[in-house]
């Protein structure tokens, strides 16, 4: 276990060193402090914004939009994946589409979505869903593929019936892959929503950043930016740890 600990320590040390270096370069004026704030200033800016409650509205907007997009993407994606898996011909025709889906920058549809639904939550949720749903579909398909035939025979030999086979055998077997799809869905939904808010929106954290930039308010901009980045890292990190816990039992020790 010492190697793992050593790796962790070096990582923390490396990241801290990078932050310290940036701090130093900013303070000594090597890096123009008008361009990049020293990290300590970024931190205080963020804390100021939080304590003043300036980010509260944005947080509510953004987090709720992401949550809605995430839940809808999971529901739609799992259902669609299950249906597609059952119909081989449909799967054969959709496979190339799914494989190349993420090569298309879905972001380019955002202006069209805004024109369709007017500025507000709807185009953002749809953008988030457009980014997240295919990942869920792909991982659902992979999960269903990963159920070995012998387990389905076992279910029949034990006379489980269709519903129980789904709940007692298929679902637990698929869970690891499903979960990794959910992880991706969260990260894509988050990126999609915030990018949308940044580009074209009147509310939300993404908008807060772009507004601050355009108002030449560097402090507010960096403060909001730091908050968004930390929120993203935390959300994804939590899912990552959770997934690791779930997977531990199934892996060889």
């Amino acid at each position: 276990m010492t190697r793992a600990r050593g790796v962790l320590l070096v990582r923390i040390a490396g990241l801290s060193a990078a932050v310290l270096l940036l701090e130093l370069l900013c303070r000594t004026g090597v890096v123009n402090p008008m361009t990049i704030l020293p990290p300590s200033d970024m931190l205080t800016a963020m804390l100021d914004l939080l304590s003043a409650g300036d980010l509260n509205d944005g947080m509510m907007q953004t987090f709720s939009t992401i949550a809605i997009a995430f839940v809808l993407a999971i529901a739609l994606g799992t259902a669609a994946g299950a249906v597609i898996h059952r119909i081989p011909r449909l799967r054969a025709v959709l496979d190339p589409l799914l494989a190349s889906y993420y090569s298309i920058p879905t972001f380019i549809f955002y202006p069209l979505l805004v024109a369709l639904f007017a500025l507000g939550k709807t185009p953002l949720v749809i953008l988030g869903m457009m980014s997240a749903t295919p990942a869920v579909i792909i991982s659902t398909l992979a999960g269903l593929d990963s159920v070995p035939q012998v387990l389905l025979k076992l279910a029949r030999a034990q006379r489980l019936g269709r519903l129980r086979t789904l709940g007692w055998i298929i679902l637990p077997q698929c869970l690891p892959r499903l979960f990794s799809g959910f992880k991706l869905a969260l990260s894509y939904a988050l990126i999609g929503v915030i990018a949308g808010e940044f580009l074209l929106s009147g509310t939300g954290l993404g908008y807060a950043i772009s507004f601050a930039y355009q108002s030449f308010d560097n402090r507010a901009m960096y403060g909001a930016m730091l908050f968004v980045l930390l929120a993203a890292i935390t959300a994804n990190g939590l899912l990552f740890v959770w997934e690791d816990r779930l997977a531990r039992r199934r892996m060889k020790q």
């Binding site: 012998v150 030999a157 034990q158 007692w168 199934r250 020790q253």
Partner: protein, 265 residues
């Protein structure tokens, strides 16, 4: 082949075909009658339909022609109560511990919790899994996982147990020991056992009767009675009759195996 007065399982004129394309005549016609409490092995070249025979026997597959009767009642496309199946591939559930895997067999039963625990603990002890009861399948070897699957079938107290090459992936020494375990299981449960194996010595040593299946489409070409006493174990290999039985099995099987390999005889 004389039909015993009250056979446990009867297959009459069973044929299994697949539509394809191209159409495949996989099995049959097969006639088989198993007495209660009999230990019957099936040997044959690969691809001859042994697994199909087992699937049809327990109701996992419907025969294209012919009937299968278990305890006097005909099978109708689903597995009846009282039959336990151990598959060739690993069917242990990765997300459950050994204990939970074994208890899985009883999830549907309406037995009281105390009885379930009793049966599960008995199966764990019987299969020698006490030290691993709380481990997960990923932490066990192939042979142990197969033992878990056998234990899971055990708790159901089946009257007919079907095993499809359960020891296929194991080394020879482990196979011999597992064979002894299987005999112990047989004597303790008094179940009828049908074992599919490609190992002639295993069939010869464990069974009351051995059926030799031809190359595809599989049909019984020989039925050998071993005449072993009920109390037996792997040391029976030193009995002089063992060699004769194995030799007879091989002489029936050799031509069929060559046919499967594509060698014209």
């Amino acid at each position: 082949m004389s039909t015993p007065p009250d056979p446990h399982v009867v297959m009459e004129g069973v044929v299994r075909r697949y539509d394809g394309p191209p159409p495949v005549h996989a099995l049959g016609p097969i006639d088989l009658s198993l007495a209660r409490g009999e230990f019957f092995s099936v040997v044959g070249p690969s691809g001859c339909g042994k697994s199909t025979l087992m699937d049809v026997l327990c109701g996992l597959a419907t025969p294209t022609a012919g009937t299968v009767r278990f305890e006097g009642r005909a099978l109708h496309g689903e597995v009846p109560d009282g039959i336990g199946v151990v598959f060739q591939e690993d069917a242990s559930l990765a997300w459950l511990s050994v204990r939970q895997n074994i208890a899985f067999g009883l999830r549907l039963s309406r037995l009281p919790a105390r009885e379930i625990t009793e049966r599960v603990e008995h199966a764990i002890a019987f299969m020698g899994l006490r030290a691993f009861a709380d481990h997960y399948p990923a932490q066990l070897s192939g042979g142990m996982r197969q033992r878990v699957c056998i234990a899971r079938t055990l708790v159901l107290r089946p009257r007919l147990i079907l095993l499809d090459e359960p020891f296929g992936a194991l080394d020879q020494q482990t196979r011999l020991l597992m064979g002894d375990e299987l005999l112990r299981l047989w004597r303790e449960t008094n179940a009828t056992i049908l074992l599919i194996t490609h190992a002639l010595d295993e069939a010869a040593m464990l069974s009351d009767r051995v059926g030799v299946v031809s190359a595809r489409p599989g049909r019984f070409i020989d039925l050998v009675e071993t005449g072993w006493p009920r109390e037996r174990d792997s040391r029976i290999v030193s009995d002089p009759r063992f060699g004769a039985i194995t030799a007879r099995l091989w002489s029936s099987l050799r031509t069929e195996s060559l046919k499967t390999m594509g060698v014209v005889t």
